[in-house]
């Protein structure tokens, strides 16, 4: 549980500093509640700094890029949307790690940060 505690602490700290306090606190509240491995309401929100990058995940709300398929769940890295998708078995992939499913959106965001090696995500323009 130290993981959740740390995430909660980071979330609160980040929220106090930024504009997303509501999301971060809501995510922490959900994380504290007992829940099954794959809750029907979708995965919990997260907000943390990982390897120097701000990664956030939570329910999507009118994403400006549109067309994402995270089942209403959105992930950002330093504010840029990471295109994510949930597989039928509940695992997740992103446009950065497209062929290697991971268990949670947070693990997915962290994998993307490692893969990016500091590079910024760029919004993809599909012609």
């Amino acid at each position: 549980m130290s993981n959740i505690t740390r995430r909660r602490a980071l979330g609160v700290a980040a929220g106090a500093a930024g504009a997303a306090a509501g999301i971060a606190l809501a995510g922490s509240a959900v994380a504290d509640a007992p829940r099954p491995a794959v809750p029907a309401a979708g995965p919990t929100s997260f907000d943390e700094v990982y390897q120097g990058r701000r990664i956030k995940g939570g329910p999507a709300h009118g994403g400006h890029h549109g067309g994402h398929h995270g089942g209403g769940y959105s992930v950002t890295i330093d504010g840029e949307e990471l295109h994510v998708m949930q597989n039928a078995d509940g695992t997740w992939i992103s446009v950065i790690n497209h062929y290697e499913p991971v268990a949670t959106p947070k693990a997915l965001a962290r994998a993307a940060v490692r893969e990016l090696q500091g590079a910024p995500l760029v919004p993809l323009t599909l012609s």
Partner: protein, 275 residues
Amino acid sequence: MTVRKNQAALTADEKRRFINALLELKRSGRYDTFVTTHNAFIMSDTDNGDRVGHRSPSFLPWHRRFLIEFEQALQSVDATVALPYWDWTADRTSRSSLWAPDFLGGTGRARDGQVLDGAFARSGNRWTITVRVDGRDYLRRDLGAGGRQLPTRAEVDSVLAMETYDTAPWNSSSDGFRNHLEGWRGVNLHNRVHVWVGGQMGTGVSPNDPVFWMHHAFIDKLWADWQARHPRSPYLPAAGTANVVDLRDTMRPWNDVTPADMLDHTPHYTFDTAA
């Protein structure tokens, strides 16, 4: 007649012509339209929605059609070129001649994954990654990172032994040949190879790495091998399936080709070995 050969058997002249045709498609801008198309399907194919290029029965006919179109583009540059295939069960290390400087170049350097040798290295200035999902505009690879292993011949054979082409729910959770070959389930063939190469090959814009075509040409050959082993196993589903391309439904983006049209590769090309 187009004969697709094992990349390991290409002559120096065949390698040179293949590379030159790739560079010319890149220079003219045609190459990147293929990357864009692929990424659009990767991002829109979903397990519970419309799915055409991936995680669905039409994964194999869709990529067959995609590769034929790409091969025709190469041949418009040099009519002698055919797509080689990479049998990663045989050429399974980063020391393979596939990754030599006279062909695809090698793995990326540790610091940023950048490929430094071969025709696609940034220093050549002929392979800028323009259709991209992050800020990096150079080709990257991380061959066999973390001690990952390519599939073995025995693993391939275990998948070729599967009699049923595909099963409901026709997505990444399906049993059957297609999903085991694609790799969302079981020993994992196709997906694992993307991950083993790393760099752009692990992303939605994987055709940025020319090895994409040689990987998929081998996946395509394995489909032909499977058909030869199971002549009475049809493409499935046959008809009436929501969100999924049935045997005689047309496939986006072409809208004039069906899986039924793609079952026999021999009007388009043959392989250097009998299937």
